[in-house]
């Protein structure tokens, strides 16, 4: 530690000032807070001098320890100035020195290298109160620097480097950022916590096979959103759910795609329609498709309006049924139900044909005396193989329980057992070996 020496009377001039009072108080200035208030730690009382220091990392323990040191050593400061004192050349700053009857310390030394090696030494004591214009010392300028509640930390170990900076203020809340690096991963995180918005944080993580980013909010409305990039894919996620994935096979979206316009696979997406080549409903392009708010159209072969009016050049219904209200229905089996049907053309039923004037069977188009009915209103109706018993074996047989006609032309009438005329019955009988029809 420091030593002491003496110059006795070997001094050219000596000026002495009154001894200072002992120190009784320590004040450590950390800096100023956001409101401009001093942040300090203090120890001791105001019974003596106050030792003020600046240290942004000051603590109460530091103030207490320093005060104890001052009180234990009983620090007394004796100001003086000695000119051309023959000081022991081996003396150092801080050593005690006796000059005549004075004892103080060497706090300043100007040494002249000559045969005498005389020194101008002093314990300066120019009190600030003596100045009309107080000078701001380096220490005081340091005090003005904003250091309120700002802390930084770097931790370096064999396996990890971590750097963190934190700041807290009433306006900003708590801000912090951290960079963490290991041999396999680098991560960067920034967070902010306020009473109003809860905690927001963002994080980027990088390792050899992926880069990921995530932004999270907690407290109040919790949510998170982020993305991840690997060697095979890139995905977006919300909370714990993947909402979009892009890989070599394409893009997969889990959710709703909202777009006002676009082009996908040759299809143009507009505000009111999606189309390919057929850019408007009612367009004249021979090929193309149009799907819009005003209708659907495929080339020139199919069209349906927003009102439901369908125009088709070729319509094949392969199943189900077609109904028009309750008055018409045709099903996939061809069963037609109609409450009212008017046909202006030809109706074919199996091999028969019903026209406006004939009920024809097969390919017969006119009466040909071959057991079919033909003719219009004046000719009656003909059936060639057209009327027969259901399951009967007489294809050319017309059978009826009764038949009434004003007039009947019969070319051949066979298998008749009797005929009744106006109450008279004619029977088929044999007379003289001949079959006759006798009115009996």
């Amino acid at each position: 530690m420091s030593d002491r020496t003496s110059v006795g009377q070997s001094v050219a001039a000596l000026r002495v000032s009154p001894e200072f009072d002992a120190y009784s108080k320590v004040v450590i200035h950390l800096g100023e807070d956001d409101d401009g208030n001093d942040v300090t730690y203090q120890a001791g009382d105001d019974s003596g001098r106050t030792l003020e220091i600046t240290n942004p990392w000051g603590t109460q323990e530091m103030a207490d320890n320093l005060l104890q040191q001052l009180l234990r050593r009983g620090l007394l400061y004796q100001p003086y100035t000695a000119e051309r004192a023959l000081v022991d050349p081996s003396a150092e700053l801080g050593d005690g020195i006796s000059i005549a009857d004075l004892y103080s310390g060497i706090y300043s030394q100007d040494l002249t290298f000559n045969g005498l090696l005389a020194s101008d030494i002093s314990a300066p004591a120019d009190e600030e109160i003596d100045h009309e214009f107080p000078f701001v010392s380096q220490e005081q300028r340091q005090y003005k620097r904003e250091t309120a509640r700002l802390s930084s930390r770097i931790s370096i170990t064999a396996t990890q480097i971590e750097a963190e900076v934190a700041r807290a203020s009433a306006a900003e809340g708590t801000l912090s950022s951290r960079i963490t690096q290991t041999a396999s991963q680098i991560s960067i995180e920034v967070s902010r916590a306020t009473a109003a918005e809860g905690t927001l944080s963002s994080r980027i993580t990088q390792n050899a096979n992926s880069i990921a980013a995530k932004v999270s909010a907690s407290g109040g409305s919790s949510s998170s959103f982020g993305w991840e990039l690997t060697s095979s894919m890139w995905r977006l996620f919300s909370g714990g759910t993947t909402v979009l994935t892009a890989d070599r096979n394409g893009l997969t979206v889990n959710g709703t795609i909202n777009s006002r316009m676009g082009n996908i696979g040759g299809f143009t997406i507009g505000q009111n329609a999606i189309y390919n080549n057929l850019s408007s409903f009612g367009g004249t392009q021979s090929t193309g498709v149009y799907l819009g708010t005003n209708g659907i159209q495929l080339g020139q072969g199919f069209r349906v309006t927003s009102a439901g009016a369908v125009t088709a050049s070729n319509l094949a219904i392969t199943g189900g049924s077609i109904s028009i209200g309750d008055n018409f229905r045709v099903d996939s089996s061809g069963n037609v139900q109609a409450n009212n049907m008017t046909l202006s053309g030809t109706l074919r039923v199996g091999g028969s044909t019903i026209t406006a004037d004939a009920l024809r069977s097969g390919a017969q188009s006119a009466y040909n005396n071959s057991s079919y009915w033909s003719g219009g209103a004046s000719g009656g109706y003909g059936f060639s193989n057209a009327i027969k018993e259901t399951g009967g074996t007489y294809p050319s047989f017309f059978r009826a329980t009764a038949m009434q006609a004003d007039r009947m032309n019969v070319y051949r009438l066979t298998g008749v057992e009797y005929i009744t005329f106006r109450g008279y019955t004619a029977y088929v009988t044999t007379i003289d070996g001949k079959r006759v029809l006798a009115l009996l």
Binding site: I53, W57, L70, L93, G96, S108, L111, A125, Q138, S151
Partner: protein, 265 residues
């Protein structure tokens, strides 16, 4: 106070004079006893022998040193305070030596005590380690070139930013002081470690200079920083000055010695 020999202590109590040497840079000229460089050859074909600095013996003597003064203080201002980091200064006026003095060359003044008859001489004592800051060459009335040098000690280097560091933070104040000393290229005086026992920790001092960081640390112990005569970084507290003691002295104020020891009264 530096450690000194018994001869030194004895000579100090007797009439004596002080010899001075100035070592400039890390190499010097082979000199004779008086300090003048030895010259070999004649006329234009002369040469001086360059030698690696071995100490004061290789330094420039009063024969070429016109004046030399050092200025050192613990307080930055005229008010006692703590947390100061004040660099010492040296001013030299000397006959300009031959050869080139490197930039920021080291300047080490030495002194030793010599008996009046010159028969006894103490060991050489360093009186600080400084570095050239400015130099100026002029000519005196005899057309002899005179070199004026101004220099600072290593504390002037602490105006640089706190160096990049490999230690973990928050770090012990002792580790931080060692980091700064390493950046300055100087050792730390052992008495500093005896003072710094608080175990205070500091965060990475981003944006601060080395001097500012030393200031914070020194203030925490009620001390100020200085460089020793041997060029080491040292913390001197206001509280470490020894209590007053009185030595038995002669009429001139020299302490009387018995067996090389001063007598306390």
């Amino acid at each position: 106070m530096q450690n000194t020999s018994a001869l030194y202590k004895r000579l100090l109590t007797e009439e004596h004079y002080v010899e001075t040497r100035l070592v400039v840079g890390e190499s010097g000229l082979l000199v004779e006893e008086s300090g003048l460089a030895l010259i070999f050859g004649v006329g234009a074909n002369t040469t001086r022998i360059l030698v690696e600095q071995g100490g004061a013996e290789d330094g420039f003597s009063e024969a070429v040193i016109i004046s030399m003064k050092t200025y050192r203080r613990l307080f930055a201002g005229t008010v006692p305070s703590v947390g100061n980091v004040v660099a010492g200064e040296i001013e030299i006026t000397m006959l300009k030596p031959l050869g080139t003095i490197p930039r920021m060359a080291q300047l080490i003044p030495y002194i030793r005590l010599s008996s009046v008859d010159g028969a006894e001489k103490s060991e050489w004592i360093k009186k600080g380690v400084y570095y050239i800051d400015t130099r100026d060459t002029t000519q005196n009335v005899d057309d002899i070139e005179v070199l004026t040098i101004h220099g600072f000690d290593a504390l002037a280097k602490t105006q640089a930013d706190y160096p990049s560091s490999s230690i973990s933070y928050p770090a012990l104040d002792t580790d931080i002081v060692q980091e700064i000393a390493n950046a300055m290229g100087v050792p730390v005086d052992e008495r500093t470690w005896a003072i710094m026992t608080g175990g205070y920790r500091y965060g990475l001092p981003v944006g601060y200079s080395q001097a500012e960081v030393l200031s914070f640390i020194g203030a925490a112990y009620g001390g100020n920083w200085t460089m020793t005569d041997d060029g080491a970084l040292r913390l001197v507290t206001l509280m470490e000055m020894p209590t007053e003691s009185r030595y038995l002295t002669d009429e001139f104020g020299y302490a009387l010695l018995i067996g090389g020891d001063r007598i306390l009264v």
